[in-house]
């Protein structure tokens, strides 16, 4: 059976990651930025799984699960923060949330 080469998976992962980075850097809406982060994480997951498949080892799968757990926790905390920010500031524009520097 013809297999899909690993490099294809990696290229897809790189494309997804780049999209995530671009979204993170250029979008102003916090929720969109947040989704970009998830996209980057899952791009990395994809490369982990691809390598695990190539090397026939389970480590990559394990890491993918770790990342998912962390991402889930991060989503919970992150959404809570976003909610609070919106409630306090009335905005989701990331450029307006820079009070940490003072």
């Amino acid at each position: 059976m013809q297999q899909v080469p690993t490099s294809w998976f990696l290229m897809l992962a790189a494309a997804l990651f780049t999209l995530g980075v671009a979204g993170f850097l250029f979008r102003r809406n916090i929720v969109t930025v947040f989704m970009s982060i998830e996209l980057m994480l899952n791009a990395v997951n994809l490369s982990f799984v691809a390598f695990a498949h190539q090397h026939r080892q389970v480590d990559g799968h394990l890491y993918a699960f770790f990342v998912m757990v962390v991402a889930a926790a991060e989503a919970a905390v992150g959404l809570a923060i976003i909610l609070t920010v919106f409630r306090n500031r009335g905005t989701l524009n990331i450029d307006d949330v820079d009070s940490m520097k003072d």
Partner: protein, 613 residues
């Protein structure tokens, strides 16, 4: 023989009065202070009686103090004939002065502190005298210096007293520096500090080494015994209470230098150049200080310069090879100079603190006992025949003549000046009309009894205690020939001095002022002590202080060290100020930095050829 008990009694007195005496009554303080010194004196008598003739040194080893490599210093005490003489002087005169101080300090504050310090001084002085090696001697040497400092600055609320204490301490540092170097040289050459072993090896050592050791020891002695050029601290030391001047700055501590050079006589006997230097320093000091004494008006200052001058005599004795005569003069000087100071203290006490002789006069009727005893001391120091000063001074001068006649002639001139200034002080104080406004009263018996005992010792002490004979076996010195002519000349010089003083201050009181006016410039020079203090101030103190201020403080400390420390802080702040621009608070700019960093990292890794496995 339990030698350790001798210094232990005063130490116990110091500890009891110093630590526990807060609520003691004055009589209880007296009890501990006086009893400790008297017990020490009794124990000295008992010890010396038990040791008998002392043909050789009696050494007691207590414990090893320092052991490191070939260095082995024990806490050893020894008694030989020289130590025996010193022990008797220190504890005997010390006891009398302690008793006197009860009366003198009766109206003073800090009573307990005073006696605690005085006892501590006795402890260190006895340690100095009993020590059987240079290191232990140095402990006593520094200890008496400390007590001297504490007691000069006893009236710590008076600035001149505290600065006088500082001056004594700092000038003594210079001498102690020389003494320390001498000790290092001794250890390098002899591998020991023990007197017995050093002096056994000394005759075999090269003359150059011995001369250097001798000269460095002399530097130490010059500091402690107030010789040229380090004498400047002693006249200022009179800021302390008068019993302190008598005990520490006349009878005992200042003679430690003479004791130390006499102790090291073997070294000097094999280093003639060093010994001759002692004689020259001694006679120069004796003459120089005597001239200053001629024109002082403060009664204690007169006796202070007299002490410097008489210490010079002792060094002439040691430096002429007549070690016994030097120690002899040390003993008789302790009698009559302690008496002169205590008498001066009695006068000051009688006049409620007046020290200026121009405001005294006619006191002999008011305080006859003080006058009578001081007259004995004055005659003794002037060298009136068969009194104590006569014997010791002539022993020194005859020995000096053997060494170098010019030293003898300067000594004779000094003897004349000594007689003059002492009798000048006597006449100004006790004769003529009273020029002050106080109400003189005789001192209490507790002060007069020590005066009377010391007066008897000043009169008969020379004949009673033939110290040179006693020490002849110890120093192995040749017997100095009796020379009637030399003796007569120096006695005549003394009498001329007395007669001149009588003429100028007793019979024609206006003459002194007229004479001083005639030689105006010279008189001013002497009256102002040759401006030595001012010269030292200009030549040494000011450049040192100025240099320290400009270089050590401003340049090195403030600019260099502080600059380095502050500079590190300031640069860190500058870098922080630069970097804080990155900290915009804008999340997207942070993310840009992260992304750029990641790209840079990947780029660098690509250039380096991937991760090294």
């Amino acid at each position: 023989m339990q030698l350790w008990l001798i210094p232990l009694f005063p130490l116990a007195g110091f500890l009891v009065n110093g630590l526990l005496g807060r609520r003691f009554s004055r009589s209880l303080v007296n009890l501990f202070a006086i009893a400790s010194v008297l017990l020490s004196f009794v124990w000295v008598l008992k010890t010396l009686y038990g040791l008998g003739d002392l043909p050789a040194a009696h050494v007691e080893h207590y414990f090893t103090w320092i052991r490191s490599g070939s260095l082995d210093i024990g806490c050893d005490f020894s008694v030989d004939r020289l130590t025996a003489v010193m022990l008797l002087v220190v504890t005997g005169i010390g006891s009398l002065i302690h008793i006197y101080a009860i009366g003198y300090m009766a109206h003073e504050g800090g009573y307990r502190r005073f006696f605690a310090y005085l006892n501590l001084f006795m402890f260190f002085m006895l340690t100095l005298v009993l020590a059987a090696n240079f290191a232990l001697l140095f402990v006593g040497w520094e200890g008496v210096g400390l007590c001297s400092y504490l007691l000069i600055g006893f009236y710590f609320d008076k600035p001149f007293a505290t600065t006088a204490g500082n001056k004594a301490f700092i000038v003594n540092r210079i001498g102690d520096f020389g003494f320390s170097l001498a000790m290092f040289l001794i250890f390098v050459n002899f591998q020991t500090f023990d007197f017995a072993r050093v002096f056994a090896q000394a005759p075999g050592a090269p003359v150059g080494t011995l001369t250097l050791i001798g000269l460095l020891l002399l530097v130490g002695a010059c500091g402690k015994s107030a010789q040229l050029p380090l004498y400047v601290w002693l006249p200022d030391a009179m800021a302390g209470p008068t019993p302190v001047s008598a005990l520490i700055h006349a009878a005992t501590m200042v003679t430690a230098g003479v004791y130390m050079t006499a102790r090291a006589w073997v070294i000097y006997a094999h280093a003639p150049a060093a010994m001759h230097t002692i004689a020259i320093v001694g006679i120069a000091t004796a003459f120089f200080a005597a001239t200053i004494g001629l024109a002082q008006n403060d009664i204690k200052k007169v006796f202070a310069y007299s002490t410097v001058s008489q210490l010079g005599y002792m060094f002439v004795g040691v430096g002429s090879g007549a070690f016994g005569a030097g120690i002899y003069h040390l003993v008789t000087h302790a009698f009559f100079k302690a008496l002169l100071f205590l008498g001066a203290g009695s006068v000051i006490h009688a006049l409620s603190g007046e020290q200026d002789m121009s405001k005294m006069g006619g006191l002999w009727k008011k305080i006859p006992w003080t006058f009578g005893t001081m007259a004995c001391a004055a005659m003794a120091i002037a060298g009136v025949p068969w009194l104590s000063g006569f014997y010791s001074k002539d022993a020194i001068l005859v020995a000096a003549y053997q060494q170098a006649p010019w030293i003898y002639w300067l000594g004779v001139a000094t003897a004349g000046m000594t007689a003059f200034y002492v009798f000048r002080a006597m006449f100004l104080t006790f004769f003529g009309d009273y020029r002050g406004d106080r109400h003189p009263h005789e001192s209490p018996p507790v002060m007069l009894v020590p005066l009377v005992i010391l007066a008897l010792l000043s009169l008969a002490g020379g004949a009673l205690f033939p110290v040179p004979e006693f020490l002849r076996g110890f120093f192995h010195a040749a017997e100095a020939p009796e020379d009637f002519t030399l003796m007569a000349i120096s006695v005549a010089s003394g009498f001329i001095g007395i007669a001149l003083a009588a003429l100028m201050y007793l019979f024609k009181p206006g003459m002194a002022g007229a004479f001083a006016g005639r030689i105006g410039g010279l008189y001013k020079l002497v009256y102002n002590k040759y401006f030595v203090d001012e010269a030292y101030d200009a030549a040494l103190v000011r450049p040192l202080v100025g240099g320290s201020r400009a270089v050590l403080w401003k340049a090195i400390d403030a600019a260099g060290i502080d600059g380095a420390v502050n500079g590190v802080g300031a640069r860190a702040r500058d870098v922080g100020a630069l970097l804080q621009r990155i900290q915009s608070g804008n999340i997207r700019s942070y993310a840009t930095w992260v992304a750029l960093g990641a790209v840079l990292l990947i780029f660098v890794m690509g250039l380096a050829g991937g991760i090294v496995r």
